[in-house]
Amino acid sequence: MQAFDYVAARTVDEAVSLLAAKGAQARVLAGGTDLIVQLREGRRNLELVVDVKKIPDVNVLTYDPQNGLQLGAAVPCHRIYGDATIARAYPGLMDAFQLVGGTQIQGRASVGGNLCNSSPAADTTPTLIAHRATCVIASPTGRREVPVEQFCTGPGRNVLGNGEFLVALRFPAPPKNFGAHYLRFIPRNEMDIAVVGVGSSVVLGDDGATVSAARIALGAVAPTPLLVEEAAAALIGKPISDATIAQAASAAQAAARPISDMRGTIEQRRHLTGVLTRRTLQGAMARARGETLSHA
């Protein structure tokens, strides 16, 4: 590994000025489960690593039913699903947060870090999109916010500019009759990068059937995670049914732009997009109706 300087920043401003001074030669360290691997394999060459874990803002984990969830960008996954109240309020997020690597990875890896690594196959991004998360970014000019579906701009690339880093993610409180579900396809049962990932959410009317809002987000089938408006359109305003779910799945398949690589072929990925859209919508629907899904 190349030698680099290490600084544990104490405040947001300190981190911002350190990052701004070094530009592309510096990077934030939260859980390290992506960054340390990249440094070791020579995929990143940095002069400076800025450890943000001592900054209070990135460790925030608060939830209340009115204001929703404030998730500091460096909070490790195990802390999130280990919080019974938050886990109960956002089962669709927990689906993904419990999948990021194995137990050891979840002891360190953060949702913010997963998002900032900006892999097209990241497990958290589709469900963040399905939950309408907002990214809170610290920059040399103050704070700015970006809807999570706009955060990633390409494989390994995102909207963070010079001196900027992700401080937190904000999630609205789940509205009444909201349900969400994330599934990914992997060849084993754990530890793999998603071949395809889908995060879906629906809001049902009080009749428990008519869809008033929906979000379907795809992972690993395009250079960035995709929010598929057409898939949602196939559901909104109608009672949810196998037929409308099938239409949404077709729309998702049409929107997917997968490649063939060592983890999957175009045909396989397109097919799985349909399968997982269908399955996550069924799961979201069940949760919207107050049911719990059995553990895989």
């Binding site: 590994m1 390290g32 489960t33 340390i36 137990t103």
Partner: protein
């Protein structure tokens, strides 16, 4: 680049060391502190052989920079047995023949320790789920899972 002085606690003892910022906790444990019980299998977080507890949380030490341990508590396999007795997990691994070559064993035992601290009566599925980040190539896992379940039963009674 001058080395960084790190003060930490390992297996209940105050320890300090000098390290480069690029050295992982795994490297420092093994190469500088002589604590070779924690093993290296892959160095990218995919095999769990380097598992330790950091402030009680199960992590891969190959993915922790040694400098990050300042002011924190590290628990490794060396801290498990007492001078007169093996930990129930260690004992059950032996009774069940849950190790063949033994290279993955320290990682599994630390991972199982973390599991039982959080969930003293896990089901077989919960054990398998928790330990999915630890690879074993010799045993096929059957006897490992049995050893963990048996240790849980013994520790529950105690």
């Amino acid at each position: 680049m001058p080395k960084i002085h790190v003060q930490t606690r390992i297996n209940g003892e105050d320890i300090d060391f000098l390290c480069e910022s690029r050295q992982s906790l795994l490297e420092v444990l093994r190469d500088d502190l002589g604590l070779t019980g924690t093993k290296e299998g892959c160095s990218n977080g995919n095999c769990g052989a380097c598992s330790v507890l950091l402030d009680g949380v199960l992590v891969d030490s190959c993915l922790v920079l040694a400098v990050e341990t300042a002011g924190r508590e590290v628990a490794t396999i060396e801290g498990l047995a007492t001078p007169s007795q093996l930990h129930p997990l260690q004992q059950k691994f032996l009774e069940h023949a849950a190790l063949q070559c033994g290279i993955c064993t320290p990682g599994f035992i630390m991972a199982a320790k973390a599991l039982l601290a959080q969930n003293p009566k896990p089901t077989e599925h919960e054990v398998r789920y928790w330990l999915a980040g630890n690879l074993c190539r010799c045993t096929g896992y059957d006897k490992i899972v049995r050893a963990v379940l048996d240790a849980a039963a013994v520790m529950e009674k105690a």
